[in-house]
Amino acid sequence: MGNGTQLGKVRGLGAAGGGIVHHWWVQRVTAVANLFLVLWFVLSLVRLPSLDYGSTILWLRQPLVAVPMCLLIVTVFWHFRLGVQVMLEDYLHGSKRVIAMLALNFYTFALAALALFSVLKVALGTAA
């Protein structure tokens, strides 16, 4: 609650109880992570001899590939989930916004689960 000054008393007591600052900050943190992880991902794919099934699987199976891939999935999905939320808050109101936010959450979590499970299945699975 701050140190008793007027500013201290209201700090973090906005409409979202401080959630806005957290939203803004996490979007920046995930943006920095995305910058490095997406560059790593693109350069890694370019350096692969071929993008066919065999060479991609061999690549994805390595721990130092599977782990950054899982991190990339988390940061990319988290980042776009926050970005789309801002768009929905700008353009939709009332019950439409609630439904759209629910749909966004389902979309994000279902697809993230699929992506993470797929990486783990390839990385932890026995060699085919």
Binding site: R28, V38, V42, V46, D52, L114, S118, K121, V122, A128
Partner: protein, 136 residues
Amino acid sequence: MASRPIAPPPRPLSPHLTIWKWRVHMAVSILNRVTGHALAFGAVLIFAWWLAALASGPEYFRFYQSIVVSPFGALVGIGLTWAMFMHMGMGIRHFIMDAGEGFDLVTSRRTAWAAIIFGVIATALLWGIILLGKGL
């Protein structure tokens, strides 16, 4: 004599895209949101499908490739790559502005153009490597 109640004048609306004169700073701001959403609902979907196809085995992966690897697929790929590099460039510009720098008109215009040029050149480079280097 009772005068008819006058309807209150309509509330002023915030000016939108149709009102403002187009400037490059405005274009990158709008493009940042547009490309972000293209990535969220386009690239992310294909990315997750690619991973699921890899996890499903060679047979399903061939089916995935038969749809994705095509002239139309390359066109979508180039578009989404451009969206990704644009979003990346404009995101870096955003970091600079989040730090409180680059708000004066000249710098703001320069960084906006730099983000656009970065997006185009990086896309051309990457697809040049893909198409000329080793094919799809």
